[in-house]
Symmetry: C2
Subunit: 325 residues, 2 copies
Amino acid sequence: VNVSEIGEFGLIDLISKTLGQPPPARSELILGIGDDAAAWQGDSLIQLGTVDSLVQDVHFSFPGTSWEDLGWKALAISLSDIAAMGGEPKYALVALSLPGTTDVADVISLYRGMAALAGRFDVAVSGGNISRAPIVVITTTVLGSTGSMLRRSAAVPGERVAVTGHLGAAAAGLGALAIGIKLDDETANQLKEAFMRPCPRVAEGRLLLELGVKTAIDISDGLVADLTHICEASQVGARIDVDQVPVHPAARAAFGDKALTLALAGGEDYELLFTAPAAAMARVKAAASCPVTVIGSITAGAGPVDPVDGRGRPVSLNKKGWAHF
Amino acid sequence: VNVSEIGEFGLIDLISKTLGQPPPARSELILGIGDDAAAWQGDSLIQLGTVDSLVQDVHFSFPGTSWEDLGWKALAISLSDIAAMGGEPKYALVALSLPGTTDVADVISLYRGMAALAGRFDVAVSGGNISRAPIVVITTTVLGSTGSMLRRSAAVPGERVAVTGHLGAAAAGLGALAIGIKLDDETANQLKEAFMRPCPRVAEGRLLLELGVKTAIDISDGLVADLTHICEASQVGARIDVDQVPVHPAARAAFGDKALTLALAGGEDYELLFTAPAAAMARVKAAASCPVTVIGSITAGAGPVDPVDGRGRPVSLNKKGWAHF
């Protein structure tokens, strides 16, 4: 059965059933799907709102993409923005554009993938919109709140620069899909998982805030590009030791020495990149349940990011990050 | 100059300049465009969130659409959802997907049209996302708040059914564009304006709430279809006298007797459709600064909408509303 056959309202009914009841933690929700707008009881914390889109044949393609993974990723990339602010994500609104010929079962899979991730973070998918379109476009708005927040603009010279987790696996996953290289099953699965099922660092963002960190961004464009965003917003420079960058082991297994470039410039890792004074950084490293690796420091002067190797020699990069156009 | 040439970040800079400073009424805004998420100080009112998309070659086409009108309309359709809840719209997040070959000047026109409407309602366009795509898709999230709200589900048998303004002009405008009929300039302009520059009934929604109205929806799918949404949500029926439906004079000038069908089923009018006891309805008619026309009443039993003529004879409709697929 395709979407045209059951129509918009039939599809909305099925989606509501797939999403199920909102999580008990979202008891402030007053109206979910089914009125002109979603409604929830407000609070006097800082409110956060972010939106992101995934576009067919730009960010993913069929065949080769599971609809369930797609739903997960569409929500993950917006949750990651809330994580990068140190916020608690609470509500999602999903605008889905798709051809009328789309199989209803695929749409349900999409929302099942989204619901799986939403459930992990007590996020209520509480509204949205469905439109006909010649291609699939999924736009996810996530709303959250926080007592204080991580910004891009608070980095100070002398602070350490660090990242959570490992980098380069998402870009390696995309690259492996694109060029179809032969990989052992475990490496292939890890890379695909990294590319299609990133796990937003929500708990880690909250932890950074608690431990006194002020500056963070999520790595969506690539390490160097996103560190450049911090430098521009904070009017500082940064020096990173590329030998310290935690390249994902599966990316290294697949691409060898080229994996470093993927880690520096590949994007879509959705790890957190943050800056902190040495003392706060030590607290974070001790408390975090994921790897935290110091890769450099913030420097004076609104310079660009300055990558060097372990002996302080400049390193040149071919590609600074994901170009959206 | 096209979008690929200046790139995502060059474009975001220009868009920020086009949007200018947030309105003074939005002093709760802490972070606008330029971080991972927008941030504002919360309050303990009911919070409202809604999202809508406009898709190229489904909701509009080039040539034939002005980019400035498109920006206006993309925001208007989401503001209208907040209006239908009786809310005060406050923040907008805009996800724009477009080809890299798009002229930068066109994108600026789009945001200029959006800013013009945002300014009227003290809405801060405070964030968004830009993606490459083979077609233009604009997805607008609007957030607002309110002390209490209008719902679809509160209609009660015996209440009067009324609409603001006049109906059918947007569908007539679309029809006139599609079939290229000859119209005098004034009629043509009125219809085009109705289709591309709907003015969301925000003040009217607030007024309805103040005067004790409980049930409303905005007319996006069409009068009969949207009244059916109210009936389904409230588990009631409705009877409307089609002779009382306020057909837009320009729609009548262009399409004669067929204008009634456009008014009943055309959609995209973005007027408010609401129900209220006779006493509250009288207060609304006395206080509203726009026309308010009673067109029928709510009946017992979860029946479909029952259109009759002035003498109570059943009227059959060919088309119940805008079908999204």
